[in-house]
Amino acid sequence: MAKTLDKKTLKKSFNNWFFWNGCSQQAESMLGMAFGQSMAPVIDELYDTREQKAAALKRHITLFNTESQVGSVCNGIAIGMEEQLANGVGTAESIQEAKVALIGPTSAIGDSLWVATIIPLLLTICLSISSSLTSAAWVGPLLYIVVYPLGTYFLSWTIFQLGYKAGLEGVQRFMASGQLDKIIRAVTILGLLVVGALTASFVTCSLNIDIKTATKVFDEATQAYIDGSISVFNLDNLLNTVFPKIVPLALTVFVYWLYTKKNWKPLVIMLLILVLAAVLTAIGYIPTIGAFV
């Protein structure tokens, strides 16, 4: 008689993964132990003898890594294959190979689609709500607390089941059909537009060079001319008339270049930004050319 997993076992396996995938993350097996915990209820139900269970558990605590929210499809696929194996179809090696093959694409999709696009997008929407409702700024975070975990749980569970039902071939067929590429490409367009707008809205960087000349200025309060200064050359204003916010844009592209082309670590880039900020602030205090004096 063919063995079929109980729906409860599937849910238990999914919950084990969803909540505890990062619990014991480390450099040796990455999410391996967490994957093992996710597979444990499945293995317990499918196999009878201690030897069979040991063999199955061993192959699921090995190196595994993915973006775990979208990567739940891997668990679904592995469970489907393990179920087939218990019914005498397939080999243990093919399950291993499938897992290793899934690490790359699922990490890439999860990181670029979910982590780098959906999260910043949702945060930005909540942020806009908070900034516009100054007296009720708590609405933004509250919305995020409700929408993000629930939405992600639903998505993650759906693609977990998809992996289980469609299996490796089904998921690969879906990937090969170009449908997924199209979706990713379309979401990337959305992501690029949003990141462009975010850069323009939130990255600020001033060169703080503002050469002033001493002159008499009209003082509204006293209705008289007093000693003061007017700006004759403001570098930021000049650059902004050429292309608005060109300095923040240049800084962002420079960071991108350091990160992708020069392989600088984010922490090192951060230190560079700290130094730049210190230098630019210091320029602002230089007599006769600084913006702050």
Partner: protein, 257 residues
């Protein structure tokens, strides 16, 4: 800060870390986001209004703080919980919102460094758990498979995060009682650092998104929608969804990839 507030905030610093007991979706990606973190600290310290004043710029600076491949450069949960707590604890010493935000970034800097170090300790210690997991697997004890992952991982995680957080928060609390004030030039510098930091996040996000050269043009369309047309983020998001829908319909797979 009272001791109870210190303990509660430290508890949330642990919960909002990568791999805490509530899972990364609820922890790192939700409680760990500065917008949410400042809200939580605001509730604990009884001043949500002030907490949100610093939460918004912190969220902007760390908007793109994601963790590609588990490489934590900057520990967000440590940074923002401690940053907000510091701003609220020392708000009596400053007179403007800008100075308050400067305080938050200072606290975030301290927290980020401590947190980043503790994450590396946590990551290294977890390796030992593999031996435990291997032993359970070899015995075929499927029902015990959760123990190294949850008991082991959480004991190490809790120790690495909760205890240092309590120490840092108590130090800030003591500093606040001693009445430390921060000079104007420092606040100007740290505020400009905060807004330049947003460039780091954007640069890293771009590294995920830029696949083809013409992607730069799409990115710049988003940029000029704000600089030339003055659109808000909500409007750009709507335009983005429409553009993505149209793109999806007209795209030819071979051309796109």
């Amino acid at each position: 800060m009272t001791m109870a507030q210190v303990i509660l905030i430290a508890l949330f610093i642990y919960l909002a870390a990568i791999g805490s007991i509530v899972g990364n979706t609820i922890g790192w990606y939700c409680l760990g986001r500065p917008l949410v973190a400042s809200f939580v600290v605001g509730i604990i310290m009884g001043d949500v209004q002030t907490a949100m004043i610093v939460g918004i710029p912190l969220q902007i600076a760390y908007l793109a703080n994601v963790t590609p491949g588990g490489a934590v450069a900057w520990d967000l949960s440590y940074a923002t919980y401690i940053g907000t707590a510091m701003a609220l604890a020392m708000k009596g010493t400053v007179s403007s919102d800008a100075a308050l935000i400067g305080l938050a970034f200072t606290g975030a800097g301290i927290g980020g460094v401590v947190g980043g170090t503790m994450w590396n300790v946590h990551y290294a210690l977890d390796v030992v758990l593999n031996r435990w997991a291997e032993r359970i697997a070899a015995n075929g004890d499927a029902k015990k498979m959760w123990m190294p992952n949850i008991i082991g991982g959480q004991l190490i995680g809790f120790a690495c995060r909760f205890i240092p957080a309590v120490i840092v928060l108590m130090a800030i609390s003591a500093g606040a009682s001693a009445g430390i004030s921060i000079p104007d030039w420092f606040i100007k510098g740290i505020s400009s650092f905060g807004s330049m930091m947003a460039a780091l996040g954007m640069g890293i996000i771009l590294s995920f998104l830029i696949k083809k050269n013409y992607d730069w043009a799409v990115f710049l369309v988003g940029f000029v929608l704000v600089t030339y047309f003055g659109l808000g983020m909500m409007s750009v998001a709507v335009i983005g969804v429409l553009a993505a829908t149209i793109f999806y319909q007209i795209i030819d797979r071979k051309e796109a990839y």
